[in-house]
């Protein structure tokens, strides 16, 4: 598990960097109205395909965690959105009790949404590192 613990943040950083670089290069990724990006996380040695963080445009831009992993007691979610040239960052918070959570951002001309997620077992063990997601309208 040590390999996983060290590699997941790296993967998240690289993935985000690829998206950013791709965007800067003109390859903007359009995700309007669809589930744009899922980044699974897990806890300890348990399956990592049951927790997700992703941005979504539905009735509003949101960042979500879907936690079906009963080993993940604490879930961290932070997010940001961009309107024009201004970034808005919603500070990350940890919530315990196996939560699935939605952070809903104000209605308006949001053109980018992103965030990061982590999850830990009770006792703050089994944290597999932060996973990030970024999506554009």
């Amino acid at each position: 598990m040590h390999g996983l613990k060290w590699s997941r943040p790296l993967i998240a950083v690289i993935s985000t960097a690829i998206i950013i670089v791709g965007t800067l290069a003109g390859g903007q990724i359009a995700f309007a109205g669809v589930n744009p990006s899922t980044t699974p996380v897990g806890c300890g040695a348990n399956p990592d395909d049951q927790g997700y963080a992703y941005g979504w445009w539905g009735s509003s831009a949101t960042m979500r965690t879907e936690n079906d992993n009963l080993y993940c007691y604490y879930v961290y979610l932070a997010g940001h959105y961009r309107i024009g040239d201004t970034y808005y960052w919603v500070s990350g918070t940890w919530v315990g009790g196996f939560p699935s959570r939605v952070e809903t951002y104000p209605t308006g001309n949001i053109v980018e949404v992103g965030g990061s997620q982590n999850a830990c077992e009770q006792g703050w063990t089994g944290c597999n590192g932060y996973a990030s997601t970024l999506a554009y309208q």
Binding site: S59, Y74, T86, W89, S91, G97, V102, G123, W124, G129
Partner: protein, 233 residues
Amino acid sequence: MSNARCTGHCSYPLEMTVWARSSSKATLALVMALVAACGSGEAEPGSPSGTGQTSQAGPAGVSSPLPIPPASLALLLPEASDFEKDLIEDARISVAEYEAAKLAEVACLRTAGVTVQEPVRLDGLYKYRLVLSYPAGRPELSNAARECNKEHSGVIDRLWAEVSVPLYQRTISESRRLMAECYRRNGLKVDERPQDSTDPAVQERYRACLTGMWAALDIEGVSFGVDGDGRPQ
């Protein structure tokens, strides 16, 4: 366990580089003095403290310091800043101490030039949900935000999330109940996932449920699903 060190770190852009550290002892003294001056530390969620004041006297039991489980303290204490260590060295944490940490973070942010949106206050989840803003092209501000969190509340955030579970779990359960009730009143079906609907009429009804629940529980911007969606509680 090293991955959990990065509370707050990853919530800001990766490319940022500015240092905004403040004297932990001096900041703690100032913030706790402010808490004392406000006659508080006994908080009730939702009381405005956008001017830097803590929330005012709250429900019985909430004002008492909550014990930090020894295992968590042992695990996280080495990661704590000196400022945070001063707050948790008695192995307990109170609402007032949590608020002191978050208000110190806010002061640090503003000193560094980061705009912190109002209101700044304890919400219905007994947490501070800070919304920061800054213009594109100012990466140093994001790094300042990361450092301010690390210095003042990175570890406190986690310990508070742990000890305050009994406080906010009631709010989470109530939010799910209120959403289910609103669904029924408005003809929304849980299994049709109205939150993802592309139908403007459904979106409007769902949004009305959401904003009503936010107002009722003072948890603007946050939701936890709806009774009947199969999620664990």
